[in-house]
């Protein structure tokens, strides 16, 4: 390459290294070095062409020196001292994508010396301009040239330039653009056919990139989760920490008081004992002292006698005999008196076993838990008793440790009913308004009395039991709920049964007779359409299960908004029993009918369409131009769903436990769609007719098996 340029330029051999163009790709330098000699040659040829007009006398010492300085300056600027390749040569302008912004100035500067060299011979003015522009971009004319050079060397697509090089293509061939999943490396597309990667799976680089990003995001997510977990754990530890302190405090107190008690008792015992010993000692000493004194007296008497006898012995015979007789008497008497030589008090103190049993007891009781305080029974609440059972609630002190409770009871004498008041009349159950599900029933009734009553009692019997028919014997009762203050009650029941319900009223005069019975089946859910919520254009049937919208002209004015009935959406709500768990019902519709069926909260805005807000969910069907369109609306959004066979009977499953609302094509047992919905309050079924027609609700159906999977 060197030789070529030298020849064409006709330059001095002393400037051999002017126009060496090497790929300056810091990321992939080695490979590129030899790959595109043609390109360089081409470019160089153009340069030569440009230069052809100039005199060839360029490149004498000065220019060369300047060049060298320039080179050194730039090398230094770009920290390329270590790169020997660049130390001496010029850098090729064929820079690929990366780092493009950095290199143009570099390249341009590289170019400048060449230009300077070329133009040097031209006009001094131009040369000066060059000089000025050497460090920067200089005059406009020069700028133009430089821009040309820049664009040219970048090889940018431009139709303006004749010799257009397209480095990008070649670049792309070189760059990795697919990702070998097996080897987990980026490779070039053509490499796929080589042995190494032949059998391997490849995917486009973008995908690999995305999946790598996904991986990282996943891991980040995991990390975040872990952070949260650890924080929770730390909080928990703190709580436990505090609890440990509290418990310690309690234990300490307890032990201290016990311990003090024991100490006091011991001290007391000590005092008592010492005192007793002291007294004993005194006793003994006194006894002994007494003895000692009498002993001394005895001794004195003996001595006196002795002396007298001795004196006698020295008397005259006559006196001696007189005295001797008297003395013999005295002696005789004296010696007859017993001298007590028994020691009255023993020196030893008797061993006394100390009674420490109470201390032992105290010591033993230090480990026992104190007996708890007596619980306090809460007053009886209404509705908490039946004919054969009563619900008792009580509270305890938090300091107590309780293992179990013992409850005992005894009947007390009933206060005899006042004889002057008559028992009330029986209430009347509103059978049409009974709502039930598999686990409970909601009954309401009319009082049946002009005067107020004290309370009501609900009695239920199982429909299968033989005593059920008309017998008022309380022994056949299944349940009886007493103390009901209002005219409605929710009673828990077993699923899959039938019950007969009666209600009685109660006052001071006693209970009324049973009301007329009502029957309840705990299969599926029963509800009726609520006429109070019904849009004025809908008619509800007598049995509360069919809604009809008849043809009519729309009235001129809009309906005024209402809180109770729908004014915009021609809809009606059902009264579902307010019990959680799951509910299932079916709706029969016509294939060509435009309808909405779903659920909504009781306080959903009645001026809006079902599904247009976040308080309602519904399936919507519209039939237009022979096409069936299905939407599953909540908050005005619906997923994009197509259903090929229009359902004639729609099964709806409301599952509070799993927060789900599902729709099914009953005839095909086909699942259509499931909403996940947050049901913080109770919802009710809703139905709307967007065109004249009718729909019928079917109740009391137990959940079909296929429904349970959702």
């Amino acid at each position: 390459m060197e030789e070529e340029s030298g020849e064409e330029l006709g330059l001095d051999r002393s400037t051999p290294k002017d126009f060496h163009f090497y790929h300056m790709d810091l990321y992939d330098s080695e490979d590129r070095l030899h790959l595109f000699p043609e390109e360089n040659t081409r470019m160089r040829k153009v340069v030569q062409a440009e230069m052809a007009n100039e005199s060839r006398g360029a490149g004498d010492g000065k220019a060369q020196r300047d060049l060298q300085e320039e080179v050194d300056e730039l090398v230094h600027l770009y920290g390329l001292e270590d790169d020997h390749e660049l130390g001496d040569e010029f850098v090729d302008e064929n820079i690929p994508r990366t780092g493009v912004s950095e290199y143009p100035p570099y390249m341009m500067k590289r170019r400048d010396p060449a230009r300077e060299q070329r133009d040097w011979r031209l006009s001094g003015e131009a040369a000066e301009a060059e000089d000025l522009g050497f460090g920067g971009w200089g005059s406009a004319g020069q700028c133009q040239d430089l821009r040309e050079a820049y664009r040219y060397t970048h090889g940018r697509a431009s139709e303006e330039y004749e010799c257009y090089v397209i480095p990008e293509e070649e670049d792309e061939e070189e760059a990795a653009d697919v990702f070998c999943v097996t080897c987990k490396t980026p490779i070039r597309a053509f490499q796929k056919v080589f042995d190494e990667h032949k059998e391997h799976e490849v995917i486009p680089l973008n995908e690999a990139l995305e999946s790598a990003k996904d991986e990282i995001h996943k891991n980040m997510y995991k990390l975040e989760k872990q952070i949260i977990e650890m924080e929770n754990f730390a909080n928990h530890l703190e709580e436990v920490f505090i609890t440990v302190e509290e418990n310690f405090g309690k234990q300490e107190q307890n032990f201290e008081s016990h311990y003090n008690e024991i100490l006091e008792t011991l001290a007391q015992k000590y005092e008592e004992k010492i005192q007793a010993l002291g007294e004993k000692k005194k006793e003994k000493l006194e006894a002994l002292y007494g003895q000692l004194v009498s002993c001394g007296e005895n001794l004195d008497t003996c001595k006196e006698l002795m002396e007298t006898i001795e004196e006698m012995c020295h008397e005259e015979k006559v006196d001696f005999i007189k005295d001797a007789v008297a003395m013999a008497d005295r002696l005789g008497k004296f010696l007859k008196t017993k001298t007590d030589v028994e020691i009255s008090a023993q020196p030893e103190f008797e061993d006394q076993t100390l009674d420490f049993s109470d201390v032992e007891q105290l010591m033993g009781s230090i480990n026992t838990i104190p007996a708890p305080s007596a619980p306090v029974i809460n007053p009886q609440v209404p509705n908490s008793a039946t004919g054969s059972s009563v619900r008792v609630c009580w509270s305890l002190y938090s300091d107590d440790t309780v293992e179990s409770y013992q409850l005992s009871y005894r009947p007390v004498q009933d206060s005899s009913p006042g004889t002057d008041q008559a028992a009330p009349s029986p209430p009347i159950i509103k059978t049409k308004e009974i709502r039930s599900c598999e686990e409970a029933v909601l009954i309401c009734w009319e009082s049946g009395n002009l005067n107020p009553v004290d309370s009501y009692t609900v009695e239920l019997t199982q429909a299968e039991s033989p005593e059920a028919s008309g017998v008022t014997d309380s022994a056949s009762l299944y349940r009886s709920v007493v103390g009901i203050p209002t005219c409605e009650s929710v009673v828990q029941l077993q699923p899959g049964r039938s019950y007969i319900i009666y209600v009685r009223a109660l006052n001071m005069g006693g209970p009324s007779v049973r009301s007329e019975p009502a029957t309840v089946h705990t299969i599926g859910s029963y509800f009726r359409l609520n006429k109070d919520t019904c849009h004025p254009w809908l008619t509800i049937s007598e049995d509360g299960l069919t809604a009809v919208r008849s043809e009519r002209r729309t009235p001129a004015r809009e309906l005024s908004p209402s809180d109770t009935h729908f004014t915009r959406c021609v809809a009606v709500m059902g009264n579902l029993i307010p019990v959680r768990g799951h509910h299932y019902w079916e709706v029969e519709v016509d294939e060509h009918l435009d309808y909405r069926v779903g659920v909504a909260f009781a306080d959903v805005r009645k001026q809006e369409d079902l599904g247009a807000n976040c308080l309602s969910w519904c399936m919507r069907h519209t039939f237009a131009s022979s096409r069936h369109k299905y939407e599953f609306l909540h908050n005005r959004t619906t997923p994009d769903i197509r259903i090929t066979v229009p359902p004639k009977k729609i099964g709806i499953l409301l599952d509070y436990e799993h927060s789900k609302l599902s729709f099914f094509n009953v005839d095909l047992s086909q699942h259509l769609y499931t909403f996940s919905c947050q049901l913080h309050e109770f919802v009710h079924p809703c139905f709307s007719l967007e065109k004249p027609g009718c729909l019928k609700v079917h109740n009391g159906i137990s959940m079909p098996k296929h429904v349970t999977f959702y």
Binding site: V193, K198, E201, V202, E207, S211, H628, P639, D640, I641, R642, I643, T644, V645, N665, L668, S669, Q670, H671, L672, Y673
Partner: protein, 262 residues
């Protein structure tokens, strides 16, 4: 038929295994993946066949989809075969990614040089179920099939050509009408020759038009932004129109974004 176990890994309480065997239909060694849920230790479970799409092997589904937890909970045995015969050394089988290796299209080829080995339809509907029923605790009466893209096409045609054999069929972004899309045309002309009447026997949209059989429950999920959908390779609308007319129950869900990661 002897099964050689290649690998076995515990997963969500069950076992993910890979086996190799000598296939009679395909005249080569074939691998397939089987997941046995915990319930399989004590009783027979329903069998679910998964058919993968273009360029896949038996590995893609078991490593990328994360289906194991559901399969474990619901007690399903999931079987994932490969997408074409391997190592047959047929000239041209590796030339493109959408024909030949990894692109069996679940047909029985009638053209040379493919007809000896490329019999994926028979493999999936006959040989493999027989093998599975004989060697694993599955209930032969409860079988379902599902797949992605080319595998979705496979699932649909297997179900439509065998009324009553599968209890349900689902597909992710399936090729619904191969005779009208570039992939299908390329594959069918290669495997089945130029007689388009032979092509229709493997086209879900055409099969539906003459589906006589028992009730089917079809679920299709399709990504809205799926490039192949936009390129006219999948053509679900044609399939839905045909099903609507013939009253075949289908629920078709168009999901946000593309689900083409397998």
């Amino acid at each position: 038929m002897a099964l050689k176990q290649i690998s076995s890994n515990k997963c969500f309480g069950g076992l993910q295994k890979v086996f190799e065997h000598d296939s009679v239909e395909l005249n080569c060694k074939m691998k397939f993946a089987v997941y046995l849920p915990p319930k399989a230790e004590t009783g027979k479970c329903p069998a679910l066949y998964w058919l993968s799409g273009l360029t896949c092997t038996e590995q893609n589904f078991i490593s990328k989809s994360g289906y194991h937890q559901s399969a474990s909970e619901h007690g399903l045995v999931v079987i994932a075969p490969d997408t074409s015969p391997r190592g047959c050394n047929i000239k041209g089988e590796d030339e493109s990614w959408d024909f030949g290796t990894g692109a069996g299209f679940y047909v029985d080829a009638t053209e040379d040089p493919w007809k000896t080995n490329y019999r994926m339809y028979s493999y999936v509907t006959e040989e493999l179920p027989q093998l599975i029923n004989a060697n694993f605790p599955v209930d032969p009466q409860r079988m379902s099939i599902f797949g992605h893209s080319m595998g979705g096409h496979g699932a649909l045609i297997c179900a439509l050509k065998n009324p009553g054999k599968y209890k349900s069929v689902s597909a992710f972004a399936p090729i619904c009408n191969p005779v009208l899309c570039p992939w299908g045309k390329k594959a069918f002309s290669g495997y089945l020759g130029t007689d388009q009447s032979k092509w229709k026997a493997y086209d879900a949209t055409h099969l539906v038009k003459s589906y006589p059989g028992s009730q089917l429950d079809i679920l299709i999920d399709q990504g809205k932004d799926d490039q192949f959908l936009l390129d006219g390779q999948l053509l679900p609308d044609n399939f839905i129109a045909a099903c609507t007319e013939k009253k075949i129950p289908v629920v078709f869900r168009l999901q946000e974004a593309s689900i083409r990661k397998l």
